[in-house]
C-alpha cells in the first residue's frame, strides 16, 4: 500500500505543469474576468466614449454604492445565507443621519456615526435571529427589509431630508488626487474585506461555515458568533454605502435604494460566488459589480430604452450563471 501511494504521488508530480494551468483555468475568477473583458470590448466598439478616463471613473463612481453593498453580501452569501435588507437599511441609515444633523442640529460626524450604528444594529438583529433564532436568512431579512424601510418613512414622514453641511458632499462627489472619493472608499472596503477573508481566521470560518456548517461547529468553530458577525458586517457596509449615497444626494432619502439588494446579489453571483456558500472570492464580487455597472453605462451610452435595458441585463445574468454552471 505505501508503495502504491508513492508511485501515485510521483505520477502526479510529473504532471506539475498541466496541473498549474488547470488550477488557473479553474480559478473562480476566470469567467467573471472573461465576461468583463468581452463586455468592455463590445461596449468600446459600440461607443467611442467608453474607454475614456472620464467615463471609466464615471462607471466606477456609479458602481460604488452597489459595489460596497455587495461586499457585505459576499460575506453573507459565502456562509450560505442571504441579506435582503441591505437596500432598506442603507436608506434608513442615510435618513437618520440626515435627520439628526438637519432637524436636531447635531454635528455631521455624529450623524455619520449614528448612521453606521443603525446599520450595524440592524445587522446584529438579523444575525441574532438567523444564528440564535435559527430562522431562515431569506425570511428574516425580508422582514427586516420591510421594518427598515417603514422606519425610515416614519422618521422622515416620507420626504427627503435636505440641508446637510456642504462638506458631506465630499463622500459622494468629492475627488482625491483626481479620483472620485466614492471609488476610493469602495476600493478601501474591498481591500479590508480581502484581508479579512484571506488572511484572518475569521475569513476561514466564513468559508468553513459555507462549506459545511456542521463540521465547522463540531470542530469547535463558534459558528453562531461568526454568523452574527457577518450579518453585522453586511449592516456596516450598508451604512457605509449610505454615507456615499447621502453625500451624493446631499439629503437623506427614505425611498432610496429600492431593489439595490438584488443588484448586490447579482454582483456577487456574477463574480463567481456560489449561492450555496463556501466558494467565491471578494475580487470576483468587485468584477461582478463593475460588470453590472458597465452594462448599465454602455446600454445608456447606446441610448437603449431603459425598460429594455432591464430585460437585457436579466438575460445577461442568466447567460452568465448558465455558463458558470457548465464550467464547474
Amino acid at each position: 500500500m505505501p508503495h502504491d501511494a508513492n508511485t501515485a504521488v510521483a505520477g502526479k508530480a510529473g504532471n506539475g505543469r498541466t496541473l498549474k494551468l488547470g488550477t488557473i483555468l479553474h480559478s473562480p475568477l476566470v469567467l467573471p474576468l472573461a465576461g468583463l473583458i468581452v463586455v468592455s470590448i463590445l461596449m468600446g466598439l459600440a461607443s467611442d466614449n467608453f474607454f475614456s478616463v472620464a467615463n471609466i471613473f464615471n462607471v466606477l463612481r456609479q458602481v460604488s454604492i452597489v459595489g460596497i453593498l455587495a461586499v457585505g453580501m459576499t460575506f453573507v452569501i459565502l456562509t450560505g445565507g442571504i441579506d435582503l435588507s441591505v437596500g432598506a437599511v442603507m436608506a434608513l441609515s442615510g435618513t437618520i443621519c440626515a435627520g439628526l444633523v438637519v432637524n436636531m442640529g447635531m454635528p455631521g460626524v455624529v450623524g455619520l456615526l449614528a448612521g453606521l450604528l443603525v446599520g450595524v444594529g440592524f445587522g446584529l438583529f438579523n444575525g441574532a435571529l438567523v444564528a440564535w433564532g435559527k430562522m431562515p436568512a431569506i425570511i428574516v431579512t425580508l422582514a427586516t427589509m420591510g421594518i427598515a424601510r417603514g422606519l425610515g418613512l416614519i422618521y422622515s414622514g416620507g420626504y427627503p431630508i435636505s440641508g446637510l453641511p456642504s462638506w458631506m458632499s465630499w463622500f459622494g462627489i468629492g475627488r482625491l488626487w483626481d479620483i472620485p472619493v466614492p471609488v476610493i472608499l469602495m476600493f478601501i472596503v474591498y481591500a479590508v474585506a480581502w484581508v479579512l477573508l484571506q488572511r484572518t481566521p475569521f475569513g476561514r470560518y466564513v468559508y468553513a461555515i459555507g462549506g459545511n456548517e456542521t463540521a465547522a461547529r463540531l470542530s469547535g468553530v463558534k459558528t453562531r458568533r461568526v454568523k452574527l458577525a457577518i450579518y453585522a458586517i453586511s449592516g456596516l457596509t450598508s451604512a457605509f454605502a449610505a454615507v456615499v449615497l447621502t453625500g451624493r444626494l446631499m439629503s437623506g432619502q427614505p425611498n432610496a435604494g429600492v431593489g439595490f439588494e438584488l443588484d448586490a446579489i447579482a454582483a456577487v453571483v456574477l463574480g463567481g460566488t456560489s449561492i450555496a456558500g463556501g466558494r467565491g472570492l471578494i475580487l470576483g464580487t468587485l468584477i461582478g459589480a463593475v460588470l453590472l455597472g458597465i452594462l448599465n453605462n454602455g446600454l445608456n451610452l447606446m441610448g437603449i430604452n431603459p425598460y429594455l435595458q432591464d430585460v437585457i441585463k436579466g438575460f445577461i445574468i442568466l447567460l452568465a450563471i448558465y455558463i458558470g454552471r457548465e464550467w464547474r
Binding site: 502504491d4 468559508y207 462549506g211 463540521a215 465547522a216 461547529r217
Partner: protein
C-alpha cells in the same frame, strides 16, 4: 446471466479499471471485494450505465449490452441499492417505489390503489412488513433499505447490486436482510454484494470476485478460501494481527474525564463513567442505543437533559463544541463527509480550522508559513498520504480523509479524543493504520473514547468497554470479560447472561 469482460475505464489520462471481469449467475450471491479505491464503485457505475466504460463488453443473458444511462440499465433488468439511499424522505414507501414510474388511471391521475397493491405484493415476496403510509424518513435504516430493494424489484430487476448494505444496520437487521437476500436468491435473482465485512461474506455469499487498484485479482468459491486468504487477495500481503497489543493501564491512572451523570432525555436512564489517562474506552451497543449522543453531550454538541462532567477533576459546563475544544476534548465524528470535513477545503485548511491560536501573527492574521509547517507536521504524525498539504480533501481516499480529521486534533494537542466509528467505510489496510495510531496516541498520553459498531474492533482495541442499551450504559466490562458474548448480551438484553 451477467458477464463483464475486460472492462476498462479511464478518466482523462488515468486508467482506473484495467480490464476487469465479473460473471454472476442467476440465483447466486456474488461478493465484490476490494479495498476503497479498488474500483468496485466505478465498476458498478459502469454496470448501471451511470458512466461509460472505455473498453470491454457487458453481456446479460449472453446478449451484448451497452447502457448510456441508468434508465437503459434498469430496462435490461439491473437494479442497484446505493450506499446512500436515493429515497425521498417525506414520501411514503409506495410513493418512493413508483416515483417517476407511477401507475396512472385512464384519466392520467394516480392509481394509488394499484400501486399500493403492487407494493404489498413485492414486500410480501420479500417477507417484510413495513408501514406503507408513513414517510420513509420515519422508517428504520433497514426498512428504508427494504424499500430500496422493493423499488428495484418493482422494476423487474433480475440483477440486484447491493452496495455496502449492512454498513448501518444492527445485527438483527442484518439477519433480516440476509433472509431477504436468501429469498431473492431462491427466486433466481443474481445479486452482487459489496461489503467490507468479511464475516458477512462467508455467511451469505456463494462466490467472490476480488479487485485491487482497478485490477482483476480473481474469482473463487467462498468455500475455497478463508479470512486471511481473502485479506491477502485484497491487500496483496497478509495482515497479521490487525490490532496492536494492549499495554495495560495502571489501575490508579489519573481520571482525565469523569462523567458523574449524563441523562440524554428527561426520564431516561442516568449513566456515569470515567476515562483514565492513556486509556481506550470502548462504547459498544446497537445503533440507536445512545452511544453517539452520550459522547456528543460531553462536548455540548447534543442537548442532553442532564450532563455533569469533570475534566481533570474540575467541573465544567459545555454549551457548544467550542467549549469542548477549550477544555481539550476533540471529536472525530461518525460521518466524515457530513460532520468532519469541509470538503471544499484543502488538507491545510481542514487541519488548521480550529487552531488559529497556534499561528496568529499580531493576534489578527494567520501566519501562513507557520500554518503550513504545523500542517505538514500533523500530517506526518498521522501519515496522511496526499500530494501535499494543499490538496483538496475530496480527492483523498476515505482512510486518508479520516486521518485529516484526526490530524486536526493532533495539531491542537487535545488530551481527550472521541472517535466515533473511526474505521467506518475505510479499507482493511487503513483500518490497521488507524488502530496503530490510536495506540501511539495513548502511549503519548492521549485518552480515547471509541464508539464502534464493529464488535471485533471494540474487543480488539478497548481497555474497558461501556455497553449501551436504550439510552444508557447497561454495563462496563474490562480485562478478560471483554468478549463478544458478554458485550452482545449486555447490548441486547441489558443483563449479564442470556439465560438468567
Amino acid at each position: 446471466m451477467l458477464e463483464l469482460k475486460g472492462i476498462k475505464k479511464s478518466f482523462g489520462s488515468i486508467e482506473v479499471l484495467h480490464g476487469v471481469d465479473l460473471d454472476v449467475r442467476a440465483g447466486e450471491v456474488h461478493a465484490l471485494l476490494g479495498e476503497n479505491g479498488a474500483g468496485k464503485s466505478t465498476l458498478m457505475k459502469v454496470l448501471c450505465g451511470i458512466i461509460r466504460h472505455s473498453d470491454g463488453v457487458i453481456r446479460i443473458d449472453g446478449k451484448e449490452c451497452s447502457f448510456s444511462n441508468y434508465d437503459e440499465a434498469i430496462a435490461a433488468g439491473v437494479g442497484i441499492v446505493f450506499q446512500e439511499f436515493s429515497l425521498i424522505p417525506y414520501l411514503n414507501a409506495v410513493e418512493n417505489m413508483f416515483l417517476a414510474r407511477e401507475i396512472k388511471t385512464r384519466f392520467g391521475l394516480l392509481d394509488r390503489a394499484a400501486m399500493r397493491r403492487r407494493a404489498q405484493e413485492i414486500l410480501q415476496q420479500l417477507d417484510v412488513d413495513i408501514s406503507l403510509h408513513l414517510p420513509v424518513a420515519s422508517l428504520s435504516v433497514a426498512e428504508q433499505q427494504f424499500v430500496e430493494i422493493a423499488k428495484a424489484l418493482s422494476l423487474d430487476a433480475r440483477i440486484l447490486i447491493l452496495d455496502e448494505p449492512t454498513a448501518t444496520l444492527t445485527p438483527s437487521e442484518v439477519e433480516h436482510l440476509f433472509k431477504v437476500i436468501r429469498e431473492l436468491r431462491k427466486k433466481g435473482v443474481a445479486i452482487v454484494f459489496i461489503s467490507h465485512h468479511l464475516e458477512e461474506i462467508f455467511q451469505i455469499c456463494d462466490r467472490i470476485t476480488v479487485l485491487r487498484d482497478g485490477e482483476y485479482i480473481g474469482t473463487c468459491n467462498v468455500s475455497d478460501v478463508d479470512n486471511d486468504g481473502l485479506v491477502e487477495m485484497m491487500v496483496g500481503r497478509r495482515i497479521e494481527n490487525s490490532f496492536p497489543p494492549k499495554p495495560g493501564i495502571a489501575p490508579d491512572a489519573a481520571r482525565v474525564l469523569e462523567v458523574e451523570e449524563v441523562q440524554l432525555k428527561r426520564g431516561g436512564p442516568i449513566s456515569s463513567f470515567f476515562l483514565r489517562e492513556g486509556e481506550i474506552l470502548g462504547f459498544a451497543g446497537l445503533v440507536g442505543s445512545g452511544r453517539t449522543e452520550t459522547a456528543l453531550a460531553l462536548l455540548g454538541a447534543y442537548p442532553a437533559a442532564r450532563c455533569k462532567v469533570k475534566v481533570d477533576g474540575v467541573e465544567t459546563r459545555f454549551a457548544e463544541p467550542a467549549d469542548g475544544l477549550a477544555h481539550g476534548i476533540g471529536l472525530l465524528p461518525e460521518s466524515r463527509k457530513e460532520q468532519g470535513l469541509i470538503t471544499s477545503f484543502s488538507i491545510l485548511q481542514n487541519v488548521s480550522l480550529n487552531n488559529y491560536g497556534k499561528y496568529r501573527k499580531n493576534t489578527w492574521f494567520i501566519d501562513l508559513k507557520k500554518e503550513l509547517a504545523c500542517t505538514k507536521d500533523a500530517m506526518g504524525q498521522v501519515s496522511v498520504k496526499a500530494e501535499g498539504p494543499l490538496s483538496r480533501v475530496d480527492t483523498l481516499s476515505g482512510g486518508n480523509q479520516q486521518k485529516v480529521v484526526i490530524a486536526r486534533w493532533i495539531n491542537h494537542d487535545m488530551k481527550i479524543l472521541i472517535f466515533d466509528e473511526p474505521t467506518r467505510g475505510i479499507d482493511v489496510g487503513a483500518k490497521a493504520e488507524i488502530y496503530l495510531l490510536m495506540r501511539e496516541f495513548t502511549a503519548q498520553g492521549y485518552s480515547i473514547v471509541m464508539i464502534s459498531s464493529e464488535l471485533p474492533e471494540v474487543i480488539g482495541m478497548s481497555d474497558r468497554v461501556c455497553v449501551f442499551r436504550d439510552g444508557g450504559i447497561a454495563a462496563t466490562v474490562e480485562g478478560a470479560d471483554i468478549t463478544s458474548e458478554t458485550v452482545m448480551t449486555y447490548a441486547t438484553t441489558g443483563r449479564p447472561d442470556h439465560a438468567a
